[in-house]
């Protein structure tokens, strides 16, 4: 899923300091799962904003709505009535959400309430880790099913580098696993260490964002 974290309330307050009335719009997709932008977080953020502005003597009216998803135009539509007389929308979806809202309402300011951080998953309760960089051409089959593009600090295809120590990466002061150590151990367990004997060639990054913003077209699904 897309993992996102809340922006500090002070940053959001600064973005909407000129506003008298806003909508806080959540999303029932990934950000609900990672506890940063679902219905519950919409309520919390709305209360925090109201309270902060009340304390400042500058009341703010905050409407609350949580979209089914913000990455589909049809699920943005229910905001139409709510946004009629607001000064801005604060979206707490991943950064796709505010951009869909911006596209639908050309004259309405929209602000992100989250920082979208990565494509990943939960490691334990309250901890999420990055697993994918969406490079557009998955090569993890060559590496025991583990991704060196994303999980090696240097995206090495021919690791591990000299900074691998005791299974940990030199980046992150011992908190990050050296993915190349894990790749090595896994291929050893699978009896496939020979996969690591030859240099891995040049990755084609044109399928990644380096080739320009991407569009995926499935002709059979187009109407």
């Amino acid at each position: 899923m897309v993992v996102a974290e809340s922006k500090p309330v002070t940053e959001i307050l600064d973005m909407i300091k000129e506003c008298k009335k806003v909508v806080v719009a959540g999303c029932k997709g990934c950000v609900t799962v990672c506890n940063s932008g679902g219905e519950k977080e919409v309520g919390i953020l709305a209360s925090e904003l109201r309270l902060a502005r009340k304390v400042a003597g500058d009341d703010l009216e905050v409407l609350e709505y949580t979209c089914e998803r913000q990455c589909d135009p049809e699920y943005i539509e229910p905001l139409d009535d709510l946004v009629k007389d607001v000064d801005a929308v604060v979206s707490i979806a991943c950064s796709v959400g505010p951009q869909y809202i911006a596209a639908r309402y050309p004259f309405l300011p929209v602000f992100p309430g989250l920082n979208t951080v990565f494509i990943g998953g939960a490691a334990e309760h309250g901890v999420w880790k990055e697993y994918c960089q969406a490079c557009g051409h998955c090569i993890i089959g060559d590496f025991g099913g583990l991704c060196p593009v994303t999980r090696c600090a240097k995206s090495l295809m021919n690791g591990p580098c000299g900074g691998s120590s005791g299974g940990k990466c030199e980046v992150g002061k011992g908190t990050i696993d050296c993915i190349w150590h894990l790749i090595y151990e896994r291929l050893k367990n699978l009896g496939q260490l020979s996969r690591l004997e030859n240099p891995w060639g040049f990755k084609n990054w044109s399928t990644s964002r380096d080739g320009g913003p991407r569009t995926m077209i499935r002709e059979e699904l187009r109407k």
Binding site: L156, G159, L196, P199, W200, F202
Partner: protein, 310 residues
């Protein structure tokens, strides 16, 4: 003798004589005089001098310019190039430019991660890694092709090197990775600073057993301790650096003003031991910001004067 680039370093190694390389880091500014001053100590004691490429991810004046300065001083450079800051377009361009300027030794590295440097906010590149850079330069040199397949008009004649760190993990994979670098194009390797002689001996044994030392010259990395503080720092804070307590105790056992002298003695002993090891083709002396001591160390180790080659 078949030569690829015909550098002095290549000739000495191929003649079977022990080679000596030293390291000289460009300054964090445009002060060429300071760089010339440091390099001047290395002129007659190294067969070639490595010029680091923004080492530890700290901005310094560029390796290419520094190599040119060395050449003007009559010193043969080993240009270091890291893949952290440049994509394949810039890397290949710099290799061609370096060859055009007459640089004949190239050390291909991935480089320290930018989070350790003076610009941790920088975007890193890592389009290629060190192994891929070796393969790319080898293909330009031997096949006259760029990564894209575009023909290279005027092939870059480079003697290709790589780094190896026998002290990182997983230990048993270190020789496999070295073999990979050789397959990609490495003709010589320079090792990380060696302090754990036992582990290095094990590494060399494995490299010899795999036949790697017959395909590639190993220059053993030595960095003299200036003080017990430096030894402690390396032990505690430099990842993958194994510093045995025996050296620390030895440095502690002499008065503070004698520690540098003791550090030099240790380095000399290390060099002598390393040169005895099967498969060690030379020494890579990294006297960091202590270049003026290189002649004394190498003389005491019996490595001076350096051989002359045509």
């Amino acid at each position: 003798m078949t030569l690829t680039a015909g550098s002095k370093l290549e000739k000495i190694l191929k003649s079977g004589q022990k080679a000596v390389t030293c390291e000289c880091g460009p300054p964090r500014g445009a002060d060429a005089e300071h760089f010339r001053h440091k390099a001047s100590f290395l002129k007659d004691c190294a067969d070639a001098v490595n010029v680091t490429d923004n080492q530890t991810a700290v901005v310094r004046f560029c390796s290419l310019a520094a190599c040119r300065i060395l050449m003007d001083m009559g010193i043969e450079p080993v240009m270091q190039m890291v893949t952290r800051d440049m994509n394949r377009i810039a890397l290949q361009s710099n290799v061609l430019g370096a060859a055009a300027l007459g640089i004949k030794n190239l050390l291909c590295l991935t480089g320290d991660h930018n989070s350790f440097g003076d610009h941790p906010q920088a975007k890193n590149v890592h389009d290629l890694d060190s192994v891929q850079l070796l393969a790319a330069v080898k293909a330009m040199r031997d096949d006259g092709k760029m990564i894209s397949g575009t023909e290279v008009v005027g092939r870059p004649q480079m003697f290709l090197g790589a780094a190896v760190n026998p002290f990182a993990d997983p230990f048993e994979f270190r020789v496999v990775r070295m073999a990979k670098k050789i397959k990609a194009g490495a003709q010589f390797v320079q090792t990380q600073c060696i302090y754990d002689m036992e582990r290095f001996a094990k590494f060399m044994q494995m490299a010899n057993d795999m036949g790697l030392t017959e395909q590639c010259y190993v220059l053993a990395g030595v960095t003299p301790f200036k003080s017990v503080g430096m030894a402690n720092y390396m032990k505690k804070f430099v990842p993958g650096m194994l510093v045995p307590d025996s050296y620390i105790q030895r440095l502690k056992g002499v008065p503070k003003e004698k520690q540098a002298e003791e550090g030099i003695k240790i380095a000399v002993e290390q060099i002598q031991q390393l040169l005895e090891m099967k498969g060690v083709a030379g020494i890579h002396l990294m006297a960091i910001e202590w270049e003026e001591k290189a002649p004394e160390i190498l003389k005491a180790a019996g490595l001076l004067p350096r051989p002359q080659v045509d």
